[in-house]
Subunit: 295 residues, 5 copies
């Protein structure tokens, strides 16, 4: 399972098309001013542009790095969800005495847990619930503003029931609860990443500096041939904008986009692992691809 | 809930208006000296300014990054408060046997916890307590220098009472206490961020270097047309100052400013989650907006 | 045991040979255009290339740093596996009363654990299982999609059995389980690193910028002697590409390559440590080298 | 409590006065050589200085960042001490049954803990113990090389006594011990920061490169007017030195200096919090200012 | 105890003497080519060297930073060993009932623990065991490939014995075991740092780029006076190499070198602390200095 997301070049160009248009227009207009009018005399040394260029490059490099951290953090959280899901069911199976009834209880618990994974991913992406999830919710007659949180509450009720039914030792209960608490934390951390936009003022500032750069850049290229001057005036700012956008895409990893954390794929893995652990029949996996991207 | 804070451009310009005035005045005066007096001869190579420019850019990029870390840390702490608040009540509900009396106890506990969240946010912002909080405090006759810490002490007294009343196992008690300890840590971490200013000497140094840059910069632009020279002399230092200020705003995330951690919104979320968990009637939420910014 | 991997220069050159060919071809063609045709007039100031050069250098430096973090994280995980493997068996030995039967149980457990280490490494590298592992699996008749996860499930079953057989205290059980959970986490973290490619859009962007640099670079060197111009045009982009590739190799540490995490060596260390702890006869260590690299 | 340390400019200038003198002397001598002797012919391109300048700027930016991390780590540790001190007494109060005798025991414990905080801060700063601490030590007849560590040993003896006296459950004891262990860790982490100087070779290297820069810098400014040349030769190296020193001050946060971690203020906060928790009479707080800085 | 390692300048120069010789030779040869032969015409713009210079500076700054992290991590680990050693004995003393026999048991345990510290440091440095350690091993007739790990196994056997002898509660046992597990982790983390060389390909790349820089650098200085040209050609690459080597030294903190983690000093501190805690007679401390450096 190599999650090698094929990002369409067109998708990306579409994303920055407005910037491209503005940059090309400005390059053409400034080019005409410089080469055809007395504006030619206005010479702003390339060193000044280079200074702003260095500043922008640094800010972009740091921003890309911060965006990458967010993206990687999202991936780590979902990695943790895989680990804790496996641990949770493994511990339950280890301490609950085997019997047809307990097998039934464990299966119910595992099925709900699998739905928790899918529904968390779908909630984060703000897509409609998949057939699998919505059927489960309908069948068990569950409604809430925050379905994943609600399902964890149900887990908690079950655990309370298991404690009495299977006389689980309080030590074991605390151990189990702490795994549930970690899953709860992972859910909260996903919500945090989803709900916290990168500070607006910071993003705005970087974009502004790129446009300041664009404004003065052509006046340092007046000595060049017009065609070359205009091409270069277009090229460099587009590089800056591309980096800025790439960073922006990375920093929001639950947006149903090609660089997303592959929440559906990961949920399927969890489903398969839990089914193997409990020796359940493999539920036919609904094809996780909906809409445009295979994640 | 996309927390997309609309920062007013005017708010920001207002913040740096003094710097803008100084920079413009200096640019005009130095411009006159350079273009109208024998100072013209004083040529300080643009390469020297570029050197300082690189230095300033690097320091600003790192400072912005450090400020971002602080801002993100504040957000992580409040994310942790959400998670631990949910866990705390979920565990209590799981282990305290159901009865009308315990339901009453849990509600009291949850209400106090919700007030803890609001009061922590308001204490950090140094605003007056909202109606919701101050009514609660008046009703229960609570006063302290440090209300959030005091409320945690009350939590602790309740837990001690619950242990006896509902014969909670020591293991479970330790488990509950450790969640309270994490909430206590989150509170302390917020206080740390609030009370620790970014090292003054460091901030001062960066500002000094920006002004050194401003001082020598125009003497490298003597060959340019006066209008362009003066514009550029104004532009670049203002870029530097803007970045410095943006970083400064980011690094203090509890100042009742647009880039703040949205403590009221988060408290409301916690309120809703706890009410759903305990099946309480939804308290009408006081509109969290007070003063200027919707956070 | 100094894990000083001797990377063959030829291996590396082979990796970037396509880029080298493209760069040389372009350098020759652009060289001819510049020195033999009217293209000579097209002068793109070296400052413009320098600007892109600074941008690329920054992005590469950050990317190398991020790749190094991934590589180091992989090493940390396997260091953790060593520590937890030692702890796991040490605790088991400490709490299980000595007897010929328990010695037998511990040996079985340790043998399975050693196989877990080897099989995890081999699974991550997508190589076929070594003789040692496949013989073990055949002998115990074990099959699964995910052998390491399956072996941990078996550990869990054994622990459940040990609890009854040796009347282990629930506290001790939880302590043991938490070590198993950490091993489970390490396994999951390896899978995460293995399965998550560095964001494609980011990698693609850096490569694109390097090629943009290549495109305009020679036009800033038109004043140089042709031989020198062409050499330099080849040299700098190859430096950039080399850094980019070095980063790429670092960031995937389970690919059966010279910079890999030395999973076989580490597994052997664990094997030796556990055998000493339980005073087992030293199993003859299958030579860990298979294929090309000694890791 | 805004800890806005007013650093005296004079303090700082005093710190770098030797460097300033050396730099000014060299600038004057090299200025005379360049402008009055045949050395004028020695021209070392400003680009070479710029290269070293970039190198120095980068190293300084990273070093400042690392120093900031140390400073912030020290602040985090003391933040943790606040949190754990509150937790420790809160838990003790929660589990020890109320009685006049236990109130007495708790007060003794709290008083010792407060002394622990003050003495830790004073030990780290290598100042003499304050009246408060030395009176406590005299009264209880305590002597040790390492007073804070010794007080923690006393805590441990008390806890052992409390366990028997108030029949505390082992679970609760472990919970309490783990808070003490965290305080022990915080103490050790402070010692580590205090006792580990920043690697000497690294610091020396940066200073050497600054002086190499100083040496060749004026020979790139030969074309400038003497007064301007000498001023610039002085200015830039002083900027570098200032940054280096600011970093040096930051990286040692327990030196009784203006940028120190405010250990006395934090100890006072802990004192107030514990007194409120246990409803003790507020001890008159010795004025924390001794010597020169209010920290 | 200020660990201010006085690194001998000569030690360092000795380390890079080969590079210095190569650089000087190349500078002389290229200088002759440039100033005495038609090679004078080969002009490679200083901007090209500057580009490589920026690239090298960035990579070196990041590498130095990564090396510093490793060095700091090693120091943190040993700081943790101090903390956990104190905690371990403090807890044992707290829970084991006082008696002459238990005092004897604790002393034996502490003595072995002190030897563990020394032997770990000496194993990491690959030096022969000191008299203190080897006498202990001989006296107790202990042999193993991995002495520190073996001593921890002995700790574990003792703890098992203590549990029965002093009827320690399982909760307390788990608490003690977890401290031992942390010491085990610290040991493993030291081994990881010791055994994992910085990725070879990465180091090699940086050195190669420095030599590429050296190769083309003099051809951009052709306009300078020969003596100045040659000096500068020597100076800058030596700066780069010095930084690279300083980083290399930092990144391996257990090599019996001046920048090492001061493992002997730290072991002595632990020895003194444990002796105070248990009121043992102070063992005369073998002078920790052996060989050349006082660490």
């Amino acid at each position: 399972m190599i999650l090698n997301n094929k990002i369409s070049i067109f998708y990306f160009i579409n994303l920055i098309k407005l910037d491209i248009i503005v940059i090309i227009l400005y390059a053409l207009i400034s080019g005409m001013l410089i080469h055809l009018t007395p504006f030619k005399g206005v010479d702003i040394s390339l060193s000044v542009s280079a200074m702003i260029g260095t500043l922008v490059s640094l800010l972009l490099a740091f921003k890309t790095s911060q965006s990458y951290e967010r993206w990687w953090e999202a991936r780590i959280i979902w990695g943790g969800i895989v680990n804790d899901s496996r641990s949770l069911l493994r511990i339950l199976k280890q301490y609950i005495p085997e019997s047809p009834e307990s097998a039934e209880d464990l299966e119910q618990f595992a099925r709900r847990h699998i739905i928790w994974c899918y529904s968390l991913g779908e909630t984060l992406r703000r897509t409609e619930f998949s057939v699998k999830v919505s059927e489960y919710l309908k069948k068990h007659d569950l409604t809430s503003d925050n379905i994943p949180n609600f399902l964890l509450n149900k887990h908690s009720e079950d655990l309370s029931r298991f404690q009495n039914k299977y006389s689980l030792n309080p030590n074991i209960m605390v151990h189990i609860d702490s795994v549930v608490a970690r899953l709860n934390d992972s859910m909260g951390r996903c919500e945090r990443i989803k709900n916290t936009v990168f500070p607006k003022s910071y993003s705005l500032l970087i974009r502004s500096i790129i446009y300041v750069f664009l404004t003065i850049f052509p006046f340092g290229l007046a000595h060049m041939a017009p065609a070359a001057e205009i091409s270069i005036t277009i090229l460099i700012p587009i590089l800056f904008i591309s980096i800025e956008r790439t960073a922006m895409i990375l920093q929001d990893p639950f947006e149903n986009r090609p660089t997303d954390t592959p929440v559906s794929k990961i949920s399927q893995t969890i489903e398969r692992n839990l089914e193997e652990l409990l020796a359940l029949p493999q539920a036919e996996q609904e094809d996780a691809m909906r809409g445009y991207y295979i994640l």
